[in-house]
Symmetry: C2
């Protein structure tokens, strides 16, 4: 019933614990014969090293922590999948936590993970996070940290990103290229860097194309929900005439907007073109289907883990860690919600 230990194997075989340990780990200074003996017995007894003891000795847990703002979310669940699958390949397990976009929770979760002594932390920040002490604490605790998607520019660590500004530019340019003249923007809250960047890309595209920027056409949303999409779509048409295009920060909101337009009998894209951001699966099945920017969640997750893994190993070998900023490509995905 009780788990088998090195001691039991050693006693059964009449040799020392040291030799058993070395034999199992294929140390060169153990005879072939002894190794065979030990390994055989370990096998038949179904010996598994006690990970608690191994952790204590080696000071590593082969576990990493992951904090995302939301789990029930196409983009983040794709990222999680990418991280977990990659981690598993490298022998790491992943503890996932969800901040619910709350700074307080995020801070507590960082502490939980640090107390747990995970080997590294992966995080996409909560919208509410404006203070980076908890992140700097991770760094000064010497725990590798990689941020992705919603990052803090000011924190010195590796990051995995897309070029939000360029992608937003591309999206807005597409609206312009297909004939839109009066283009609104539903943006995220003032804080996460990517909602700033997407806004700036939108603005720059307008200006580069000789369209006057009108700040009243920019709506700042809070929770980026479907309901908000509906609400602001209504508000937009109540407050403005002749808007013929919108670039929306994220697909879920865009889907809300399209639904609202449908129910208001405003035709998409004939009356108004809509372009989203992120390429959620459901964007391809609603009608009209949503033109959007593809944001490669799975690859972002994989890449983020790979960076973290390298840093964990560099740390182990006392090498200097060079922070990297990896930018992944995005694609414009053409569908029915914009004109051709």
């Amino acid at each position: 019933m009780k788990p088998v230990t090195l001691k039991q194997i050693a006693e059964t075989l009449g040799i020392s614990i040291t030799t058993v340990s070395k034999a199992l780990k294929d140390y060169p200074d153990v005879s072939k014969k002894t190794k065979a003996l030990v390994k055989d017995l370990a096998q038949t007894l179904n010996y598994k090293p006690n990970s608690f003891a191994v952790n204590l000795r080696t000071k590593e847990s082969k576990t990493i922590g992951l904090i995302v703002p939301e789990i029930v979310h196409h983009f983040f669940s794709s990222v999680i999948k990418g991280i977990i699958s990659q981690a598993e390949k490298k022998g790491y397990l992943v503890i996932t936590l969800q901040s619910n976009e709350s700074y307080d929770l995020e801070r507590k979760q960082i502490e939980l993970l640090l107390n747990k002594r995970v080997d590294g932390i992966l995080i996409s920040l909560a919208n509410q996070t404006a203070d980076y002490n908890h992140l700097n604490a991770v760094m000064s605790n010497n725990t590798p940290l990689v941020m992705f998607d919603k990052i803090a520019k000011l924190v010195k660590c590796s990051k995995v990103l897309i070029n939000d500004r360029e992608a937003a530019y591309k999206a807005t340019q597409h609206l312009i290229d297909t004939g839109c003249k009066k283009i609104a923007h539903f943006r995220g809250p003032l804080l996460p860097q990517n909602s700033i960047d997407r806004f700036l890309g939108y603005k720059k595209a307008l200006i580069d194309n000789g369209i006057t920027y009108d700040s009243s056409l920019v709506y700042i949303l809070k929770d980026m929900s479907y309901e908000e999409g509906r609400f602001y779509a209504k508000k937009l048409v109540d407050e403005h005439e002749g808007v013929d295009g919108i670039f929306i920060n994220t697909d879920l909101v865009a889907i809300g907007a399209i639904t609202e337009f449908n129910s208001l009998k405003i035709k998409v894209p004939e009356d108004i073109s809509v372009i989203g951001f992120s390429n959620w699966f459901m964007s391809s099945v609603i009608s009209p289907s949503l033109t959007t920017i593809n944001q490669p969640g799975f690859e972002i997750g994989k890449k983020a883990f790979k960076l973290l893994y390298k840093e964990i190993n560099s740390k182990k070998n006392d090498k200097i860690i060079n922070f990297k900023e990896v930018i992944l490509d995005t694609q414009l995905v053409l569908r029915e919600s914009t004109k051709s």
Copy 2:
């Protein structure tokens, strides 16, 4: 730089490690004065117990393992969220793994978790899983195990479920009540218990209503994907005339089917009524929106953790564990894909 230990606090204060340890844990046999002294210093030094050492001593990790077939999936991500949020409240962290519906992966992951010595395991089985040795291994290893959604009837452990048969009956009955006479069924593979139960509920509803069961109207799908939904929707209308209703095992497939009907100019629900299962978010935003059975993922997750938590504590206190089977309620969600 190095983490603070009990030893350092003891030396600084000139008392024993034992007393420091007891003071921090508020043992009654330490003087108020000493406690205050110790706690103060611990605070200022930002002492955090080394979880590796604590794990080794207490033989518990305050960590549980979770295996789901798929993460990028509305239902499972809701369950994960429920589990993680509940676990966090009780001081448990969750290691999540994804089996990709593969039996081999699932088996390896169980072993990973057991080697990691998690305090308990939560699992929803892969479709491919037909052999339960790995699950019985968990039980005989004395690690609490709770299964949810896709379970194995033969494994003796606690389970969190919905009444799939009854819910499927309810769905089929709704089609009948709204005038459908020739009702098809897209079911899941032969193995997961819930696809069997949903099929049985469908069949029983037909029979109870005097409709002859026709096995050629039942299609057995493999991966329950959107693409399969489209494919079988086409196949159904190619092979049968006059089908006026379908009950589909899961929303994603139903959404594929509706998309296919839309593109074939078959009107839903006028020509054919469609009812899904699970109530994915996107089902409410497609058009026509999908009538379905709500399956409370978040609550299933919460309940599953609560059961596991009880078992972990029972085990710790050497109490007998009584396996429970909790059945959660489902609701019929009426939308546009069925007649009223």
